[in-house]
Symmetry: C2
Subunit: 415 residues, 2 copies
């Protein structure tokens, strides 16, 4: 007997075959239809969302979680507008990536194709339901969504609205599947559903991601953890350094591309660190400093080893004074999560060494780590930010939701 | 306390940092040095190989396994020559894949970088030790090799020779590590050594690959299984079909791109299948046929459901008569392993439908499945053939052993 997840995966797989050969027009019409339906059904969606919010309040969810769970007219409109953005992006499917003349005049074309069936496991935010459905649909994939139980009413109504909209288009409603059983066991089933699901993308806290990596037999695209650093070099312009550090820490502290640790060359620290720490404190940032930081800024909380490895995701910044660029790079190598790392310097040789030697998805010279983001990178939208090296690294947009195949045209060739 | 594998992974990781910034010249000189050393030390290598062969004979290894284990002067020369081929291939590292103007005039470069540390788990053939060392070195990666215990003397001497050669070059000998503990536990340690090893590539039978997929937390590049089909369409040229099927089955039956099942349109079967089966039989191929096959070729062994899913890797061919192209595609969808699938037809619309609709790494029109191979595809060499969709699909050469990073050049930009 097939389990519920296997049944859904089989339905998604069958739908994915129709999506794989759908034209850009068909996909864009479906995205438009979903956007319209989200606007038309907003009172029904907000009503269901209020159920989740009421249950969340009873269960004592944190203010941050409640905020992520909450839908508003404005947020719904942003979700619908996001789908419309997708219609204006080029269709990645069918792109000819390479044409090679193989042995014996075989013509070998490398063609971009969808992945097939994508499994998304995510926490809290119901907007992921719509974003992931839109991105996978535009890239020709079917999707199986497994959100958290705290958002079940919201996710259910959103998927109902999406599928009702698809039913009036040329694409199959089965392309979007929601796992409604809130048990932990369904996660395990989903990530071991090999042969039916082609990739799993977990989006959430480190606990979720670790579990998925440990238990999955389906290939995983890891997302997320961002213990990002800025290194202020000896020759850094003080004004630029102040702007960038303040922006990278305070613009939106709760996201993965926010900076968590500041490394400062001792010469720069002596002249400018005290002023920078003061400015940050005025922006309600708590400074956790090494002993040399506290020498120039005594109000800093003493940093412990834990601070170097913590992704705070709040208005807290670890600060360490280093003797050299090399020491900064070693620190990043040891504590970084391979997300976004920046150097601020007027010394081009130092910048080159940092950009070449630091192993991360995005390495910056004289810019804020906050730019690591699909829309800032010109991808239009993203399904997550990969911090691993296989398949996709950094922001993942439509192209990162594709694979390729080789199409070989012969005239009877044999080996 | 660090385990032996962790120590080796740490040493490999440290070496990988030097390899990542090595020039093409440095890498090519090292490959030349290894090739020279293999030639100079051939008697020492063959002597150690004889130890493995003697132990294998005692242990009652099959003739096929003994053949794969055996090194000869000729095979050693082929391994050395393979390294020299690599020196003539372009260095993939540092290639600028894309330059984008991001928001606020940020210049975003997408740069090809090595993966870091590659774990190889493989069975029997000691040539993999040299091939994998050469490919990973040229692509700027360190490698940890875990061969089978039956080849331990051969692999040990080969790695000694490689490391001795590297010691006289500018690249670190620690770039190539061999796991010498033959216990099963070392495989588990290797594939869960997350944070130290960036990717694991298993090469071997389905048992090994399944185990690696199930237990690994390090990302896996699956290789290998090839249950490949040829579909002979209604309009196929009989001569071409005969040539291609015979070649795909008999040229080298033991490799993954050999064809295992022949699907034949009923109209073609009626006119030509009997003759084709006779020809194959003359080539010592055993035919396992469906009932309609046996009607035109009564000597065929009756095929069971198992035959459709078996990768024989010998001179056996399953044959099934189908009513339509659609039925053939459904059969491939159900039993294929996503490796190589071919259609033989004079009907371009049928070919287009097959090439678009069949989901496999390589899809062929009027050519033998035997061409799915790195050197046939113009890659120069391959580390395996991926049958999954993430990261790499089909033959994996130097570029498939790389990742990328985004290098962002700013002038003080903040969000």
């Amino acid at each position: 007997m097939m389990s519920q997840i296997e049944k859904q995966a089989a339905a998604a797989r069958s739908a994915s075959k129709r999506l794989a050969i759908a034209s850009a027009e068909q996909k864009n019409e479906s995205l438009q239809a979903i956007a319209r339906a989200l606007r038309n059904r907003k009172s029904r969606i907000l009503e269901q969302n209020r159920e989740d919010l009421a249950a969340g309040e009873k269960a004592g969810l944190s203010t941050a979680l409640m905020d992520r769970l909450k839908l508003t007219e404005q947020r719904l409109e942003a979700m619908a507008a996001g789908l419309e953005v997708l219609t204006r992006l080029p269709d990645p499917v069918g792109e000819v990536l390479e044409v090679t003349d193989g042995e014996k005049n075989l013509r070998i074309e490398k063609i971009r194709v969808p992945l097939g069936v994508v499994g998304m496991i995510f926490e809290a935010r119901p907007n992921v339901t719509v974003d992931a459905s839109g991105l996978t649909l535009k890239s020709g994939n079917a999707v199986i969504l497994r959100g958290s139980s705290s958002a079940l009413c919201s996710n259910s109504v959103l998927v109902d609205v999406i599928r009702e909209a698809l039913a009036d288009t040329s694409l199959p409603p089965e392309a979007v599947q929601l796992v409604t059983d809130p048990g932990r066991e369904t996660v395990r089933e989903l990530i071991t559903c090999k042969g039916w699901i082609d990739v799993v993308i977990p989006r959430g806290g480190p606990g979720l991601i670790r579990r998925v990596v440990r238990e999955a037999t389906v290939p995983v695209l890891e997302t997320g953890a961002g213990n990002c650093h800025i290194y202020v070099d000896r020759t850094a312009d003080p004004g630029m350094a102040g702007n960038i550090v303040t922006n990278a820490k305070t613009d939106r502290p709760g996201v993965c591309n926010a900076t968590e640790t500041l490394l400062v060359h001792r010469d720069w620290a002596e002249k400018h660190l005290s002023k920078l720490c003061k400015e940050l404190t005025l922006q309600q940032v708590e400074i956790r400093g090494c002993s040399r930081t506290r020498r120039v800024f005594p109000r800093a909380v003493p940093a412990t080893a834990t601070d170097w490895e913590t992704e705070y995701l709040e208005r807290v910044l670890a600060v360490k004074v280093v003797d050299s660029l090399g020491e900064a790079m070693d620190h990043i190598d040891r504590y970084g999560t391979g997300h976004s790392e920046a150097i601020i310097t007027e010394d081009d040789a130092a910048a080159r060494r940092f950009l070449q030697g630091v192993d991360a998805a995005a390495v910056y010279h004289n810019a804020s780590t906050r730019f690591t983001d699909g829309s800032q990178f010109g991808m239009g939208a993203e399904i997550g930010i990969s911090t691993q090296k296989l398949h996709a690294r950094g922001p993942m947009g439509l192209r990162e939701l594709t694979s390729h195949k080789y199409r070989i045209h012969g005239t009877g060739q044999i080996r």
